[in-house]
Amino acid sequence: MTEKERMYKCLDPVGIQESVNTFPLAPRLDTLDGKEIYFSITGEPDITIPLEKKLKSDYHNVNWKIKKTYGTNPVQLSEEERKTADGLIQAVCW
């Protein structure tokens, strides 16, 4: 066998990805009327200011709650808030 024909075992440089258990999404709501829906705002006020206005005016039977930051990390629901929250809109992720 020539050097050109010699076989080599070559190693994998890719990082070790742990296995991931995937979950079903949470069941959706039959209606938003009367529900407690959080609007979690992260930056992009050009979008989130009119979005908040439109959600409150077009869906006025919803109990809207607002969480707001100008940064990228959302202000999270507390343990207490999670007990009564029915849904959450996260906008805008960037």
Partner: protein, 483 residues
């Protein structure tokens, strides 16, 4: 994304609005968080908000109410393989294998290398990796972990021994052997491996959406041991150690961290200092008396070697000097020329504080601190002028870069940094909104955000890179811990 995954798992339905070009990144994160089917809608980068919102507010509501599909109801296990041997064949076949690309659609629309930085690599055969591993006493199957306690920029304390997660992917880890594999690919020699392992200890972040620049500085005796260049042209190609070590950062980000343009690495243009990698060696012999090298600044003694690993946000970027060498010499030798006129020292020989010349432009062209990379002669002039330590210069720069709140409001970052001006300003302890327009504030966290590195040749030049993250951030990693 971890937060939304938590909510979905807790039974709270969510919908995420993101910018359309980041959809691959969001999907990848959603998979890693266990919710691959997360409902996602796109906002526009260009349409005015009121017009854009009208396009998708109903779909947002519908995303919370439309019943789940069969796929969205599934639970399963994603188990990506990670074989030790990736390929078996001749060297020519291995060359072709490691040079494979994958086509990444919009926003890239081009082929991207799977295992390399786009250039050919040195094939990591078992024999070559075995030889590379002689450069460290750490076992090949040891997971790369922190070699000392440290604190993240977010203030989280991490203990020595914490396994390092590679970024942007958050759940990938690496063995010493994998780092050695990448060191072979980059063209390193075994004696360079401790530096590469110290760089790996940083997690090799690339940021997600910024044009961030990643670069490293080695300081200490190891620079001479392994033949690095800290002299003329040390930022240019030519020195095998500087080039190979610099290259390992990007190869680790790509392979260990999974950094793929348009998928997980969303910098819309990127940064030229990432091309081929950037690695400097500090010239400790060129330091003025009493000035400490980065190794001593970080707490080592002179016999210790460290690497400073920088992943900076490019709010000012890299500047290769703001004056000509001839203008500088005229300033210092006889007090003539434009620089002398600006400093008001016409006809007076130096030493003059040349930082006065660049100072007016720093707050206006940067949104953050700087790292000054200067030749030994220019460091010596600052010493003779009166700066007996680097720390005196850091403090001097910090004090002189204060700006008024009125000017601060005219920049892009403060809306974000101050959380919409809802927080408290540090120096006064008062709410931002209560402060008058003429109140002066430091746009840089603290003096230690600045940094000075001495190196280069004799032509009177300096460079600016982005600065450090201040006291909260520690970009220093101990090379000796990896010998």
């Amino acid at each position: 994304m971890p937060y939304l995954a938590e909510l979905e798992k807790a039974g709270i339905p969510t919908v995420l609005v993101d910018l359309e070009d980041q959809r691959h990144m969001v999907k990848e994160w959603a998979l890693m968080m266990g919710v691959p089917s997360i409902r996602l809608l796109h906002a526009s980068r260009t349409l005015p908000g009121p017009e854009d919102v009208g396009n998708w507010v109903e779909p947002v509501i519908e995303a919370l109410t439309r019943p789940l599909t069969e796929q969205e109801k599934e639970s399963s296990k994603w188990e990506p393989p990670h074989p030790r041997i990736l390929f078996e064949g001749t060297l020519d076949e291995a060359d072709d294998f490691y040079q494979q690309t994958q086509y990444i659609p919009s926003p890239v629309n081009a082929p991207i290398s799977i295992y390399t930085d786009g250039l050919p690599i040195r094939v990591p055969t078992e024999e070559r990796v075995r030889e590379m591993l002689t450069g460290t006493s750490h076992a090949p199957d040891e997971l790369v972990s922190l070699q000392s306690d440290r604190r993240t920029a977010a203030g989280v304390s991490l203990k020595k021994g914490t396994v390092v997660p590679f970024q942007p992917s958050i759940w990938r880890t690496a063995t010493v052997e994998k780092v050695a594999t990448i060191a072979v690919m980059a063209g390193c020699k075994p004696e360079q491996l401790p530096v590469v392992l110290a760089i790996a200890e940083s997690g090799c972040g690339t940021s997600t959406t910024n044009n961030s620049g990643q670069w490293v500085v080695v300081s200490g005796p190891i620079t001479k041991e392994i033949g690095m260049n800290s002299g003329c042209g040390f930022l240019n190609p030519g020195n095998p150690a500087n080039m190979a070590i610099g290259r390992t950062y990007q190869l680790m980000a790509i392979n260990l961290g999974g950094a793929v343009p348009g998928v997980s690495r969303m910098a819309s243009q990127g940064n030229p200092i990432n091309t081929g990698g950037t690695c400097l060696a500090e010239d400790l012999d060129g330091l003025p008396p009493g000035w400490k090298g980065l190794n001593e600044e970080s707490g080592c003694d002179k016999s210790g070697s460290i690497v400073m690993v920088m992943n900076t946000g490019a709010y000012g970027g890299t500047v290769t000097g703001r004056f000509t060498p001839g203008g500088y010499r005229a300033l210092q030798k006889s007090g003539h020329g434009g620089m002398a006129r600006r400093l008001g020292v016409k006809g007076i020989p130096g030493p003059h504080n040349w930082l006065e010349y660049i100072l007016p432009e720093l707050p206006t062209t940067r949104e953050g601190a700087i790292t000054l990379v200067m030749i030994p002669e220019m460091a010596q002039h600052l010493y003779e002028y009166g700066f007996k330590s680097k720390e005196e210069i850091y403090k001097w720069l910090w004090e002189r870069c204060f700006i008024s709140i009125k000017d601060y409001r005219l920049r892009s970052r403060p809306d974000f940094i101050t959380n919409g001006w809802m927080g408290v300003e540090k120096t006064s302890g008062k709410p931002w909104k209560d402060l008058p327009d003429d109140y002066m504030i430091p746009p840089v966290d603290d003096p230690s955000s600045y940094c000075i590195i001495v190196g280069g040749g004799e032509e009177e030049r300096y460079c600016e890179f982005d600065g450090r993250g201040g006291e909260a951030s520690n970009p220093i990693y101990n090379v000796d811990a990896w010998r």
